[in-house]
Amino acid sequence: MTRPLPKTSREYDVETLRRDFPILTKTVHGRKLVYLDNAASAQKPKQVLDAMTTFMTEEYANVHRGVHFLSAVATERYEAARARMQAFVGAAHEDEIIYTHGGTEAINLVASSFLAPRIEPGDEIVLSVMEHHSNIVPWHFLRERLGAVLKWVNVSEEGDLDPQDVARAIGPKTKMVAITHMSNVLGTRTALKEIVRLAHEKGVPVLADGCQGAVHGRVDVKDLDVDFYVMTGHKLYGPTGIGILYGKRAHLKAMRPYQGGGEMIRVVTRDNVTYADPPMRFEAGTPPIVETVGLAAALGYMESVGREAMAAHENALARKAEAGLRALNGVKLIGEAKDKGPIVSFETIGIHAHDLATILDREGVAVRAGHHCAQVLMDRFDVPATARASFALYNTEEEVDALIAAVQVARKVFS
């Protein structure tokens, strides 16, 4: 599999790219749709829809199960998608890529199959306060069921996470560090490579939640040396119902299976069962076949746009939005970390985030309001909810202007 060259040199032509996303031409409440809820889920380009439709109308069958033609073709597509995902994260081996049904399942898999068997009561798991619930609750399960202890690493008022704070939280009983690559609320990009280095110095493995991080920049798991890296398809311009777990081969080989079912076994008898090698050991039952094909198309699309170019474009929009919001009275940004992706959370003083989002919606602007599945972080900043605008490869400067104008409308309603 060859990786297409990123087109960093040519001008970033957002209007042409937008034509790949049919939904962006929609109007809502009579206004042009301005979709800024990308951190919740990205829209999907035609290329992804076409890949899925073509697969289902030309090549569909169950995989790994039949010797017949369609089954062979489907299996080939399914495994070719794995090779693309391997390239996307820079994994050393194809069998280090496990298909899951989402980012959430990937983290649950690691908590259950890797960590649970190693937990003694009192053992510790280190987390940051800006984790998504998907990177908190699976560890809470180990607390509830096995007596693990969660150790929390704080972030600064700006939203920065100091790798040394992570190192300091690691003690002799620490069995795992689970940390986000990019906060879905603050936009903070963590110094993941440094965190991994420090954790490994103390012999502790690291899981990185890349559900946001992988969307907004190139990932190289070999360079990061991270033990597990988690992604979710629908935020990567791909379908729902699919995620990816990267895991180091040595870890995966030593892990017990997660779910039991077809295709993950070697031999099943009445009295016993033995398991297949990774990756199949972790892919019980009929996998999300069509979704792997869709996700492979999505990753191909991102590569063809150019991941650095995308990220540069998105970040420029976010910085412009921040400047526009800062210029308004009574708006407070939440998250001003030094290394920040295209995610902008804010509070409007005197206007609850839900009221704000409702008014923005009537202006055509879709933002998210709430705790963003990050209640621990909401507690940290003592806010019940924030509004969040998050940017994708298809957003434009005019859309940033529309956001700022809509916030002004809201302020008028509540004035």
Binding site: R362, G370, M378
Partner: protein, 151 residues
């Protein structure tokens, strides 16, 4: 600005949300319940003092939330004082019809007029839960439960 929005955020709603009536705890409450909407984090706590005849002798609420949920709680507290629990439950039923845009003819004329300011919510299906949060908590309090779901 959008007409639906103007209807939703009427002056009187904004006024209730900024200056909620019966806001605070009730020292001699004998029925208390919480409402919580896990999707947005809004919280409300309803205090009722029921007398021997099952009338709402006093009512108060605490919590934080959006303009709609606070205004709705405030309006509710104004309207319930002095009513029997049975009347309160009837009012709840009519209110639910109203904010969902359904036939609310089970409301008394007076009540309908009083609640009319909340009718705008029906154009915002995602906000119906905000409007009903306090009301479900009130029902939970009457029923002697500790907490209500938003729906």
């Amino acid at each position: 600005m959008d007409a639906d929005l103007r209807e939703l955020y009427q002056e009187i709603i904004l006024d209730h949300s900024r200056h909620p009536r019966h806001f605070g705890a009730l020292a001699d409450a004998n029925h208390v319940a919480e409402g919580y909407n896990p999707l947005c984090g809004d919280k409300v706590k309803i205090y009722l003092k029921l007398d021997d005849a099952d009338r709402i002798a006093d009512i108060a609420f605490e919590g934080k939330g959006c303009a709609i949920s606070v205004a709705s709680a405030s309006l509710m507290s104004e309207m319930l004082k002095g009513r029997s629990t049975e009347e309160a439950e009837q009012l709840l039923s009519g209110f639910l019809h109203l904010v969902k845009g359904e036939d609310a003819s089970d409301l008394e004329e007076d009540d309908k007029e009083h609640l009319a300011v909340m009718a705008g919510v029906s154009a915002f299906p995602m906000r119906v839960k905000c409007a009903t949060l306090a009301w479900h908590a009130m029902k939970a309090a009457i029923d002697g439960e500790e907490s209500a779901k938003s729906e």
